[in-house]
């Protein structure tokens, strides 16, 4: 039946009225529902400060990605400030930036910011600052976090000692500092544990990144008879050079295993877990200011190459098992290069001492002086 225009109009009018009523209801409902919700739904935010570009391969990227994942887990917003120079006052500027964005915690990826950081931290008592270092400046104004890499170095030492044909292993490090000495000593203890007669050659390159000096040092190490080396540097250059020289090496970067067959193991850090724990800290409540996480926290590990001999693999895994069960690396008889006893049987080097006062090297470590 065809409707008259009057009926059509009437129907249209009714439909229009219903639509209006519906929209009105919807508007009222939504306005009531979302009124004031913003207060509850506000997300926490954290910031990350990097010295290098956040996409640069190596630690920065791994740290940024790990933190991002940890934030995603907890629905936090992450603001990253990269390319922040530690020498000028750009740290203060980016900190202002981040605080204005409402961040609760600021993580600093690189050591070396500490000196400026304390003043800045004083300005923002409501913000928690996390400096990536446990050795140097400890302040009640900020938190320190780092990894007990020495535990993995110890395992690396065991692997290097087992893997070396010549009984000579090399170690490339930038300069003698607390952290590098911890690592070198742990490495040496590992090597000596499986090969008491082995020589550990340590070469100080003097800089975090210095391809020339690294090349030179590796050359010397090779000619000193070293066939397995490891290193501590900000770049992976040393690993590549070692591979080109035909030296087996233990990489200090996560992706090392994929680059060369000469890489027999690599140190891995689960940044997501590291930051996850830090994010969970209630800074206003805890008395603990230092977060030095290690294998017991399951944040670092040594990843082994599949090409290792069963003996090498078994002994390394056994040592790891011991560590996981609570074996302290720096325990038992430890004598330094000067012959002083640093630790006796049945003792363990105290944590504070380990962190702040490691100004010695284990007996058996040879320093190669370069000119």
């Amino acid at each position: 039946m065809k409707l008259s225009s009057h009926d059509m109009l009437k129907r249209r009018f009714i439909a229009f009225a219903l639509l209006q009523a519906f929209l009105l209801c919807l508007a009222i409902f939504l306005s009531i529902n979302y009124f004031g919700s913003a207060i509850w739904e506000k997300r926490d935010a954290v910031g990350l400060i990097l010295a290098s570009p956040k996409d640069a391969p190596g630690w920065p990227r791994e740290m940024a990605q790990g933190l991002q994942k940890a934030c995603n887990e907890r629905s936090f917003n992450l603001y990253i400030e990269d390319n922040v120079n530690s020498d000028d006052n750009s740290l203060a500027r980016v900190t202002d930036n981040l605080v204005n964005k409402g961040v609760k915690k600021i993580f600093l990826a690189n050591p070396g910011y500490q000196h400026n950081l304390e003043d800045i931290a004083r300005r923002y008592p409501q913000v928690e600052f996390y400096a990536n270092s446990v050795g140097e400046t400890i302040s009640d104004r900020m938190f320190n976090y780092s990894m007990r890499y020495y535990e993995v170095r110890y395992l690396a030492g065991i692997l290097a000692g087992l893997h070396s044909q010549t009984g000579v292993v090399g170690y490339l490090a930038p300069f003698p500092a607390l952290e590098t000495r911890q690592d070198v000593n742990a490495f040496a203890l590992g090597v000596l544990k499986v090969r008491p007669e082995a020589r550990i050659l340590v070469e100080w390159t003097g800089q975090w990144i210095s391809p020339e000096k690294e090349n030179k040092a590796l050359y010397i190490l090779k000619h000193s008879g070293a066939d397995v080396i490891t290193y501590f540097a900000a770049s992976q250059h040393a690993a590549q050079e070692a591979a080109s020289l035909g030296l087996d090496y233990i990489d200090f970067h996560t992706a090392g295993l994929n680059t060369s067959p000469h890489c027999i193991a690599s140190i891995e850090t689960d940044w997501q877990k590291v930051y996850g724990k830090l994010l969970h800290i209630n800074g206003h409540k805890t008395a603990n200011k230092v977060y030095w996480q290690g294998m017991l926290d399951d944040v670092i590990s040594l990843r082994l190459s599949p090409g290792l001999t069963p003996r090498e693999e078994a002994l390394v895994l056994r040592a790891r098992q011991e560590l996981l069960q609570g074996y302290p690396v720096f325990s038992g008889n430890i004598v330094d290069r000067e012959g002083r006893v640093r630790c006796q049987e049945g003792e363990v080097i105290a944590n504070n001492s380990l962190r702040e006062k490691m100004d010695w090297l284990v007996k058996g470590v040879e320093i190669i002086e370069t000119k």
Binding site: W40, N288, S331
Partner: protein, 850 residues
């Protein structure tokens, strides 16, 4: 649509709208309620998280104190101030077992511990003095014993499981039974470390998972927040759950708190808000109902307004109908009266008496119709008050003439007292003033069976701004008005005391019209009456004064006027006067010429407006008589042109209209159009002479000298009794009346009339053949007047009928034209036949030879 269905429809619509609004309100209400509950719960949770926070803080302090105590002992041991055994002893007490471990976690002294404590030992040695809970063992705390840069022992203390469950344990916060239920939970072993009393029997023990109630949800919340609180009716309707982790341990403190104790006053706010909202809903409903009712009322008032408009329209239509009817009735009534006049002249004896009765009834009817006409004019708002300069004495004169006659007829004494100081020249609506006064006086006469009627005129109020208030007091000795009837007195169509007054004619409109007219003139009317003794009507009318010339002794003037009236027979002559008569009808021209012959006035005639304009441009006239109905250019148009004519030599000349249209209001119409006066046709000699005498400059008027041969006596000489029976068409009496009783003149008229027969007949025939009804009407109109002037009453009537048909044809609606045309055709020949018969009779009776 049927009214029932409409009401139902409307009610449904109303109900529907109401329900819709109500539903929306309810929806809003529910949304608000849920939102408020939500907010409230969030607040409760927030509050409870604080509770959890402080609880955690409490535990933290407790644990740290323990560690501090232990560290102190460790320092003493390290410094070898006390022996190992004593150190261990020092920290032990009831339920708290001290112990010493080596760096690998093996017990050296004191409490024996399971192997799994090795990991805690390693942790402790890594610098974290720590708490761990071991299932079925208890709560264990460790601190390293540092000796210089190394550590050899680890000091520990175990709170056994049983001691933890005991109320005396330091981890038990002594609480009243109605306070919060608090417990300590270890996330590592997923065990309750320190339960509250009767934990396993309380509703907060979830037997299915062997864990505290709501643990999963709390833990999920804690994953992303520092503290957590849950109020979930699924878990517990009355209790809020809250939890907070204890920093630096794997423990969380969990509490259960009664909801009511958290919200306390807030629920009141909740209730108040809901109550207010409810109130608002009620108010809103009331408002909506009110609005709907208003809408209904508005619709009703629209209907009422429409009904009122309809009624007003109907009333107006009624008024118009009445006016039209009255007008229509007047025409035949005029004929009846005219015919009756004829009968009265010719009849005698009882027949004459009957005719006289007809006359009396007819005149009454006419006056009633005039009243109705006036009233309907007032009702429809067409009545206008036209203030003009007038002479009060002239008005009073007329009044006296009219009333004294009637009073005299009834045998009443009529006396009139006029204040001598009243100015004579006033400005006001003379016609209506007269009507009002005459009405009141007529009423007085009508309702006074015997005695007297006294009419007093006074002027009250000072002559400020040239204004004064005329007061007309009419006192009678009549029947009076009952007190209860006074209110009805002035309402229309009301007649009082019908029983007593049934023999008195009237429409009941007289006073109503009087009152309306008085009001229209800003006057007032009041009545004072004693029933049975008489009434006094007082009318106050404000009038403007034109000249302060007192009216003088009015009674003396009346006397003088009466005297003058007597003397009027002495006619006048005005040999220097010139007048112009304009009429398309030759006969009318002749009539005027003849009537004024004796006055020796120079008379010029013109047969059309055009000629008239020509003449007034060439000559000066003292008076111009202008016919109204003329072909081409009618009287009104001619007058307007004459007034606008620059070359006119008659700028100040009075123009007097001649018209056959003698209906009420015509006078006003002509005066309004600029005429000085008007005369209705056919004119009779006396009236014409009086008008001429009135408007001629006095210096041109001379007394009539020895005109003694004028016929004396007011009544025209009795017409010779008719001998020819019924076949006489010429009424000599009528003819003589129009000829001032001059038989010679009558014969002259008749001669012209007969002479013109052929021309007129031809003219009419031509008009009809050419279907030129407009001209036909004009010509037949002329025939009507001339016929009457020579006494051809029958022909005049017939011509009148034709004229009316012609008018109806030209002015009336299209569909009736045919009827009117047919009427004209039917009666045209009759009129011509009558004309012929008249001519024949003229030859026969008066020996007229054309």
């Amino acid at each position: 649509m049927k009214p029932n269905k409409r009401i139902l429809n409307f009610s449904l619509q109303l109900l529907g709208r109401f329900m819709l609004f109500f539903a929306i309100l309810l929806l809003i209400g529910f949304a608000l309620q849920s939102k408020m509950n939500d907010s409230l719960n969030r607040e409760v949770e927030k509050f409870s998280t604080h509770q959890g926070e402080s609880l955690a803080f409490l535990y933290q302090n407790l644990l740290q104190t323990e560690i501090a105590d232990l560290s102190q002992t460790a320092t003493l041991i390290a410094a070898e101030k006390i022996s190992l055994a004593n150190g261990v002893q020092a920290i032990s007490s009831q339920g708290q077992l001290g112990g010493l471990l080596d760096i690998n976690g093996n017990s050296i002294w004191g409490v024996a511990l399971p192997a799994e404590v090795k990991l805690q030992c390693a942790r402790t040695l890594q610098g974290e003095p720590s708490w761990r809970y071991y299932k079925d063992v208890g709560l264990l705390v460790m601190v390293p014993v540092y000796q210089g840069t190394t550590a050899r022992y680890v000091l520990c203390k175990l709170h056994t499981d049983t001691s933890l469950k005991d109320k005396s344990s330091p981890f038990h916060f002594a609480g009243k039974p109605d306070e919060d239920k608090i417990l300590l939970y270890d996330t590592n072993t997923q065990r309750v470390v320190v339960p509250f009393e009767n934990y396993k029997d309380s509703p907060f023990y979830d037997a299915a998972t062997d864990s505290p109630l709501g643990l999963d949800k709390l833990l999920a919340k804690l994953a992303s927040a520092h503290e957590a609180a849950i109020f979930d009716s699924e878990l517990s309707a009355d209790y809020v759950l809250y939890a907070a982790p204890i920093p630096d341990t794997s423990f969380i403190a969990i509490g259960y708190r009664e909801w009511r104790s958290v919200v306390t006053g807030i629920t009141n706010i909740h209730l108040i808000v809901l109550w207010v909202f409810g109130l608002l809903v009620v108010l809103f409903c009331v408002f909506i109902l009110y609005a709907f009712t208003n809408q209904v009322a508005a619709e009703e008032s629209t209907a009422l307004r429409e009904a009122r408009d309809e009624a007003l329209r109907a009333n107006r239509a009624k008024s118009e109908f009445l006016a039209n009817m009255s007008h229509e009735i007047r025409t035949p009534l005029n004929a009846i009266l005219g015919m009756n006049e004829m009968i009265m002249r010719e009849a005698s004896g009882s027949l004459k008496k009957y005719a006289f009765n007809i006359k009396s009834a007819g005149e009454t009817l006419l006056s009633i119709i005039n009243d109705i006409l006036d009233f309907s004019k007032i009702e429809s708002g067409k009545m206008e008050i036209v203030p003009v300069s007038y002479s009060l004495s002239s008005v009073l004169n007329d009044v006296y003439n009219m009333v004294s006659y009637k009073a005299g007829q009834k045998g009443l004494e009529f006396t009139m007292h006029v204040d001598q100081d009243i100015p004579d020249a006033l400005i006001g609506d003379e016609v209506r003033l007269r009507q009002v006064v005459v009405n009141i006086l007529n009423n007085a006469v009508k309702y006074t069976p015997k005695g007297s009627v006294t009419f007093t005129v006074k002027a009250s109020g000072e002559a400020e701004n040239d204004k004064l208030e005329l007061q007309f007091i009419t006192q009678d000795t009549g029947i009076g008005i009952r007190e209860e009837d006074k209110e009805k007195l002035f309402s229309k169509f009301q007649r009082l005391d019908l029983q007593k007054n049934r023999n008195i004619e009237g429409t009941g409109l007289g006073l109503a019209i009087t009152v309306r007219l008085t009001e229209m003139m800003q006057g007032t009317i009041s009545v004072d009456s004693v029933y049975g003794e008489g009434s006094t009507f007082t009318i106050n009318l404000p009038q403007q004064v034109e000249k302060y010339e007192p009216i003088g002794d009015f009674n003396a003037r009346i006397e003088a006027a009466l005297q003058e009236e007597e003397n009027y027979r002495e006619s006048f002559t005005a040999p220097q006067a010139h007048i112009l008569v304009v009429d398309d009808n030759d006969m009318n021209l002749t009539v005027v010429e003849s009537l004024l012959e004796k006055t020796r006035i120079h008379i010029h005639t013109a047969s059309s407006g055009k000629d008239c304009l020509q003449l007034i441009a060439d000559n000066h006239y003292d008076i111009v008589f202008l016919d109204h109905m003329m072909p081409e250019m009618d009287g009104i148009e001619t007058l307007q042109r004459a007034k606008n004519l620059i070359t006119s030599k008659c700028k100040d000349t009075p123009f007097i209209a001649l018209t056959a249209n003698a209906v009420a209001g015509v006078r006003e119409m002509f005066l309004g159009k600029g005429f000085t006066d008007y005369l209705s046709k056919p004119v009779d000699g006396k009236t014409l002479e009086r008008v001429v005498q009135k408007y001629l400059p006095p210096e041109k008027i001379m007394a009539a000298g020895e005109k003694t041969d004028a016929p004396a006596g007011t009544a025209p000489p009795a017409a010779p009794e008719s001998t020819a029976g019924t076949e006489e068409h010429i009424d000599l009496a009528t003819a003589l009346k129009y000829c001032g009783g001059n038989e010679e003149m009558q014969k002259k008229f008749l001669n012209i009339f007969v002479t013109r027969q052929e021309a007129v007949s031809q003219q009419l025939n031509e008009d009809l053949t050419a279907n030129n009804i407009a001209d036909y009407t004009t010509h037949v109109h002329a025939l009507k007047s001339t016929a009457l002037a020579i006494g051809g009453v029958k022909l005049s009537e017939c011509a009148k009928a034709l004229e009316m048909a012609g008018q109806a044809y030209t002015e009336g609606p299209e569909e009736e034209k045919a009827v009117h045309l047919q009427f004209i055709k039917d009666h045209h020949d009759e009129a011509l036949a009558l004309y012929t018969k008249l001519a024949a009779e003229a030859k026969e009776r008066f020996g007229i030879q054309p």
